[in-house]
């Protein structure tokens, strides 16, 4: 999670450059900037209200970050390829509904429901990928279509009603229980956060250490060059969208477990929160660069900001204004950095 992730292969020069190169490379700087903003926000809110730095509230922030964080990881993969996935929010909902169908309607064991959610996500992601790669529909349109399609399907499958998981006794534990709490009772960090954390590590490794990750960056930098070098671009692209979809399935499980129900009407608008987290984290919407760590920091900036403004009792209308300003500021900082970096 801590390695710099550039599109360029690791040359000797960069290896020798060591710590200095790492700290001063553009991505490291961006991470530093995002991280510094997060620390600044935390410091500011602690100073503004004594209720902010309380264990209950910190746990609330962590829980609030989990779903958006996971969705943002899914969006990061696709955005690095130079694409966009607008369907992450409603796909999350759809996988939650499917999980509800398996567990509540069909009374199947919990692990089957978990697998069903992730597989459904992967299938839908694969469809989005195929629409983009094979049928050449621009990702914005393909995933916009999927977003609406899945929103409708969720309502149809659930017959417009929430599906409750009250029959699956332990289902709430996926998000709400705390494994850490068994060992350290004073810091009962919810499992949802643990899952986000492990998923982030696995995703960072995938992005930086596997062929799939290399092609994710390569597609975003110069798809044509990759194609000309004889790589089956379509196949990799579909795989990346499929992976993003599977990650949305995990988000679906987290939100369903948290609410102990699949809420079929929910989901639209969540893709924008996810994309905002990705962008704040320094991933470029034009593709080719980005980090999972940045995305996670971006997701935390969003939730700390929302929670902090609430704790300060800032009027809700102004909360939205401030969030918008922060997004603009974050992206502007990114542009400034790029200019300086000459990239």
């Amino acid at each position: 999670m801590t390695q710099p992730t550039d599109t360029a292969p690791l040359t000797n020069e960069r290896r020798i450059g060591g710590l200095r190169a790492r700290v001063f490379s553009p991505t490291a700087l961006q991470k530093l900037l995002a991280f510094a903003s997060l620390i600044l926000l935390l410091a500011f809110f602690s100073f503004a209200s004594p209720a902010f730095m309380q264990m209950d509230n910190i746990l609330g922030i962590l829980q609030a970050t989990a779903v958006n964080g996971v969705l943002a990881i899914a969006a990061t993969f696709v955005i690095i390829t130079g694409g966009i996935d607008l369907s992450v929010g409603t796909l999350m909902t759809f996988t939650a509904v499917i999980c509800g169908v398996f567990l509540t309607y069909w009374h199947l064991p919990m692990w089957i429901g978990v697998i069903a959610a992730i597989v459904t996500g992967a299938i839908c992601g694969t469809i989005s990928g195929t629409l983009t790669a094979k049928m050449k529909i621009p990702p914005f349109i393909a995933t916009l279509g999927m977003m609406m399609l899945l929103k409708g399907l969720s309502l149809v499958v659930a017959s417009d009603k929430p599906i409750y998981f009250t029959d699956t006794e332990n289902f709430y534990m996926i998000s709400q229980d705390s494994l850490i709490g068994y060992f350290l009772p004073s810091v009962p960090i919810p499992n949802a956060v643990l899952i986000l954390f492990f998923l982030a590590i696995a995703s960072a490794i995938t992005l930086n250490r596997t062929a799939l990750g290399r092609y994710t960056f390569a597609l975003g930098s110069n798809e044509e060059a990759v194609r000309l070098s004889g790589v089956n671009v379509d196949r990799w692209k579909i795989a990346i969208y499929g992976l993003g979809g599977a990650i949305c399935g995990i988000a679906g499980l987290l939100i369903a477990s948290r609410l102990n129900s699949a809420q079929p009407a929910l989901g639209q608008g969540y893709e924008l929160d996810a994309i905002a987290a990705v962008v704040i984290g320094g991933t470029s919407l034009s593709g080719g660069s980005g980090t999972i760590l940045g995305t996670i920091i971006g997701a935390f900036i969003m939730s700390v900001l929302t929670n902090g403004l609430r704790i300060m009792s800032v009027a809700q209308e102004w909360q939205i204004v401030v969030t918008g300003l922060i997004i603009i500021l974050a992206v502007y900082a990114d542009i400034l950095r790029r200019k300086k970096g000459g990239a």
Partner: protein
């Protein structure tokens, strides 16, 4: 340099907010977690709560998610509100079950919980301040039957299919028609998310698809005001019955485009939450439910002071 400027601005803003919040420190703090904040209905609930808070010397905040589907965002709001260690809390739950774990926490911390607008599946709330939506929608059905001569085709536009108010108003209307007015046929029930534009399109499509349609019932402010736009654009004359108020609906009723509407008492709901919370803090016993009431209003009684008091722009 940019960063230094940001830090400066943040500290400035922090000092400002810190100063304003300190001024209220002695009054009991009662956050109200609503289902939304943009609709005029919720603004009216808010103003009722604010009036009561002023009279009773309490401090309130009022917030709700952007759409009524965002159950998890509402839970986050509830969680943040509890972190502020309030003296009491008001909640209009979007999902009757999802908020229960947090409400249990409130109960453990001895924070009185007052439900409003719709209840939760739990006995934690000391009372619920709400409209009887089933009965109110049944009254709308009776008025519709009266206006179209007890027979013919009717369409229904509802804000959503998952919320308690959406379900109750739809079912209240449909059940009353079925049991009391069997000659009236419901040809279509559609959902427009409470969005004016979507509801207008739905109304137009309904009229297009059912040329003999005699009436439309819009189940909330956006659905009714939107249906009015749709009917106006279609150029047809039919009986429109609305729900709640708002400037547009009031004007539509004055102009005759809308036959009349059911109004709840949103200001009364807001007042009821703060009043109940203050009573709970004084240790008074509360009834399990407070029916905040509903009224039929049309051109004839709109300016009646009793009705005018519960209507809002």
């Amino acid at each position: 340099m940019l960063k230094r400027r940001i830090i400066g601005a943040l500290i400035g803003a922090g000092a400002l907010v810190g100063a304003t919040s300190a001024a209220y420190a002695d009054e009991p703090y009662i956050p109200l977690i609503s289902k939304g904040f943009q609709h005029q209905f919720w603004q009216a609930v808010k103003s009722g709560a604010e009036q009561a808070a002023k009279e009773q010397k309490a401090r309130i905040t009022f917030e709700g998610p952007e759409t009524e589907a965002m159950v998890d965002k509402q839970i986050d709001m509830l969680s943040a509100a509890l972190a502020k260690k309030p003296q009491a809390i008001g909640i209009a739950a979007l999902d009757s079950k999802a908020a229960v774990p947090l409400l249990k926490r409130a109960q453990n911390q001895k924070i009185p919980v007052i439900a409003f607008d719709s209840g939760v599946d739990s006995d934690i709330p000391l009372t619920t301040c709400a409209t009887d939506n089933l009965a109110a929608a049944a009254l709308a059905a009776d008025k519709m039957a009266e206006a179209i001569g007890n027979a013919g085709e009717v369409g229904v536009i509802v804000h959503d299919q998952t919320s308690r108010t959406g379900i109750d108003r739809r079912d209240g209307f449909l059940n009353q028609m079925k049991s009391k007015h069997p000659n009236i046929k419901i040809v279509s029930v559609q959902y427009g998310g409470g969005d004016h534009l979507k509801s207008a399109e739905i109304a137009k499509a309904m009229i297009q698809a059912n040329p003999n349609i005699k009436g439309i019932f819009g189940a909330n402010e956006g659905s009714a005001a939107g249906a009015a736009i749709g009917i106006k654009e279609s150029g047809k004359k039919l009986v429109l019955i609305g729900y709640d108020s708002g400037k547009e609906q009031k004007e539509d009723i004055m102009s005759g485009l809308m036959a009349g509407a059911i109004t709840q008492n949103p200001v009364g709901i807001g007042r009821c939450v703060v009043d109940s919370a203050m009573k709970a803090l004084k240790g008074e016993k509360l009834p399990k439910k407070v029916d905040t009431g509903f009224y039929w209003y049309d051109k004839s009684n709109m300016n009646d002071p009793k009705i005018a008091a519960v209507l809002y722009d």
